[in-house]
Subunit: 289 residues, 2 copies
């Protein structure tokens, strides 16, 4: 046996964010099955908290809500080919309302505190597609609580998935915001992207490549095993394997030309609404810089 | 899509302990690579804290120091064929001393606060094999701190592994307690066993079988991939891949007839020393009861 190396900065695993929602379970499955999980210090949390951690420098690499990236892109580079989105229904980003969305003018709409991009997307659709001007407030992601004070609520993640199933028997209208966006613009919706902090990328280019490669490999691997992931997850989640498999298949973890077009369309509309600075003509900025 | 099932007790993943030391990394690797990690709520911690959690009912299944199991077996059943031990050198349970162990009579010996079985094993060896009577005290697992106040220290886990490498150039004597036990008794040493709480086993026999099967499968899988585990871990630990592979190969995760004989020999000596009640003639009690 040889003398141990001294522990040092080079031995610090990259701090990587992971969305603790069912929608990112396939990515986690792939990281696990490939063994790549051992090479990262994985922080599981909600999208809003991961976004804050990445912006504050408490994470090196992680998913970030698209709108939060658009608002504060300066310290970040996007990882190519990786996103959470959908090219049609997404199942887990929903507007749930007591009346049709077109009838929400002047109504109160509760926005989930865990959502950023979903909340803005709902506002864009309500105001620009359905032509109504509701009043918004932010609250915790609980549909029953929301509907005590509002005529509609925007939910994301597992809560949204559950609400989607429960809503019809409660006489509620569910608008799938991924589907509504595609119907409106003809483009895929990108809800979150993966970014690396510029300072980390400059200091540890090899680690960024490793993590990026691991995520891309994970995405490929999990696509081959989606039915297995769904079957395993169904043991512990209040959804059947079939429901979960359909949900996983609806998700789009890629960020190709069509997805980037969708991202740019959303960015342009967000900028027009005064919700984020405009993307530069050659934006977004991808790693490697 | 079907209506979601209500979240309920049946959907609670078993709370399973995992020793956050390099010595259990191969088991973790196997759980990860097989996908079994998704089916458990894994609590990573030091052996002493996992032991407390299992005894207090904060874990359902987990590794437990052998001596702690012997002291409080009444609420537990051991999982067959699973342990952490060695049939010879173990590398990571060490007595590090400024003089040969036989010269420690009347000396001060620091026992790591993270060790239970290793500490008792050291006392047995010092008193009954080397024929000395040191004075003991418990302190945090830091070799330098220990040797400020003592002529020897007992260390386990990663700290012990590191100390083993550093000791020779500091003129210290390292006694591998797994090796010393085998030389003394001719038997393997068992440092930790896996146990399930009797109440959990009675309520959820299927889950216990699943977790047990997953651990056995993990052990088989990791044995085939030890060099890969070592190579991946060497990127983040202050040891070379070769050192880690040798270390992993020295570990014995099985609990067959020879290991049970070693366990019973240790139990008899612990009882003779007044450190634990005697095992019943047909003990230990294995799951399924």
């Amino acid at each position: 046996m040889t003398t141990p190396r001294e522990p040092n900065e080079a031995l610090r695993r990259p701090r990587v964010g992971h969305i603790q929602f069912l929608n990112c379970l396939p990515i986690y499955w792939g990281l696990m099955r490939s063994g790549a999980l051992l090479g990262v210090d994985l922080h599981k949390d909600t999208p809003d908290r991961l976004t804050a951690a990445l912006l504050d420098g408490d994470l090196d690499i992680g998913p970030i809500s698209l709108v939060e990236y658009l608002r504060r892109p300066e310290h970040l580079l996007l990882l190519p080919d990786l996103a959470v989105g959908s090219d049609g229904p997404v199942f887990s980003v929903n507007l749930v309302s007591t009346v049709e969305p077109r009838r929400l003018d002047g109504a109160r709409v509760a926005l989930s505190s865990t959502s950023r991009t979903g909340a803005l997307l709902a506002r864009m659709l309500l105001e620009d597609r359905y032509g109504v001007r509701p009043r918004y407030f932010t609250c915790p992601p609980d549909l029953t609580e929301m509907l005590l004070e509002a005529e509609a609520g925007v939910l994301i993640g597992d809560t949204a998935l559950r609400a989607r199933h429960e809503a019809p028997e409660r006489g509620l209208v569910v608008t799938d915001l991924g589907e509504a966006w595609r119907d409106w613009t003809g483009l895929p919706m990108v809800f979150a992207v993966w970014a690396v902090r510029r300072d980390f990328a400059a200091a540890h280019p090899g680690l960024v490549k490793d993590v990026h490669d691991a995520f891309l490999a994970s995405r490929e691997l999990c696509l081959d095993e989606l039915d297995t992931v769904a079957a395993v997850a169904a043991r512990w989640e209040p959804f059947s394997a079939g429901t979960l498999a359909a949900y996983f298949r609806a998700l789009d973890f890629s960020l190709g030309p069509r997805q980037i077009a969708g991202l740019r369309e959303f960015a342009a509309r967000a900028a027009a609404a005064g919700q984020a600075p405009a993307l530069p003509p050659d934006g977004p900025s991808f790693w490697p810089a």
